[in-house]
């Protein structure tokens, strides 16, 4: 499995994503200004503050040249994982439903969270069991998942809610405790917590490898 990790100006988790992906396969950087995915098998849009998050999180990054290729890749069934800011970018690009709003606390929060795997049947979660708990860090100010109620109903009935915050762990006020969602076909997934920071026992958990490594 060869991963491409997108790097925008302002991305800051690209190196961790690269190193995490290299634990389970090969990985290289995809520069934002190049409309070229270099023939990778899967794309990771990592966390950070793409284009400074000016105007609105993810709003400007979605128009970067590389994103046109990511959209084409995703719409033809390619595997795409958006983490934190990457999740925000994929929502802005319309590849995932909903939007991320400021945490109800209005504070930046950095903590380990417990997630529950709701849908273990997509490429990104097939190493997990339904209902399994994952311990993964989250760190963001704008992570409150929101979509209109009818969209949330459709996501739940269509198995597009992939991960929920376990009881007591929904620190950002996300609708229906949603931490991660996927496209209708399951090839595109976005989540606010950071699996690429949970790949070594040194930092407390290796559960992130279950998501990043599942596609191999």
């Amino acid at each position: 499995m060869r991963f491409g990790v997108v790097r925008f100006p302002g991305t800051c988790d690209d190196v961790d994503a690269l190193l995490a992906a290299r634990r389970v396969g090969e990985a290289e950087i995809l520069w934002h200004a190049d409309a070229d995915l270099k023939g990778v098998d899967a794309v990771i849009v990592p966390g950070g503050f793409s284009y400074g998050d000016y105007l609105r999180v993810g709003a400007i990054a979605r128009f970067a040249p590389v994103m046109g290729e990511v959209e084409r890749f995703a719409r033809s069934g390619g595997l795409v994982l958006g983490i934190c800011n990457g999740f925000q970018v994929l929502c802005e690009a319309g590849l995932l439903p909903g939007a991320l709003l400021p945490n109800t606390s209005l504070r930046f929060v950095c903590r380990q969270v417990e997630l529950e795997v709701v849908n273990a049947g997509i490429p990104w979660t097939r190493a997990c069991e339904p209902g399994e708990r994952l311990s993964i860090p989250a760190k963001h100010t704008t992570g409150r998942y929101w979509a209109p109620d009818d969209v949330l109903d459709a996501l739940e009935s269509g198995d597009q809610v992939v991960l929920r915050y376990a009881p007591g762990h929904n620190f950002n006020g996300s609708a229906r405790d949603i931490a991660g969602v996927c496209s209708p076909e399951g090839n595109v997934m976005g989540l606010m917590p950071h699996p690429e920071h949970a790949v070594d026992v040194l930092t407390g958990s290796v559960d992130g490898l279950k998501l990043i490594g599942a596609t191999g």
């Binding site: 105007l55 609105r56 709003a59 400007i60 128009f63 802005e92 909903g98 939007a99 709003l101 400021p102 945490n103 109800t104 606390s105 209005l106 409150r144 929101w146 979509a147 209109p148 006020g173």
Partner: protein
């Protein structure tokens, strides 16, 4: 032509920034303030103002979570003349 785009959180979506301001005002002795919402103002010069709604839909606002309105100077006053629910053209 000069134009202003006002962007607001959609009604019904929790707006913690507005709530924080609403709580801060009475703390300074300003009573009788409610329904505070904090949005964004974009000012711009634009050659073709007919493009403004599309600019709003595609970049300046996220129509899923935000409402916007476009104001253009009319003589020496600003008038509100368009938005997602207003007639266009």
């Amino acid at each position: 032509m000069r134009a202003r785009v006002l962007i607001r959180p959609k009604e019904g979506i929790l707006d913690p920034q507005g709530q924080a301001v609403e709580r801060a005002l009475p703390a300074l002795g300003f009573e009788g303030v409610s329904h505070v919402h904090v949005g964004r103002l974009v000012e711009l010069d634009v050659d073709d103002p007919a493009l403004l709604p599309e600019m709003c839909e595609r970049l300046l606002a996220n129509p899923l979570i935000e409402d916007y309105s476009i104001e253009r100077p009319d003589a020496d006053r600003w008038t509100q003349d368009a938005g997602p629910d207003a007639p266009r053209g």
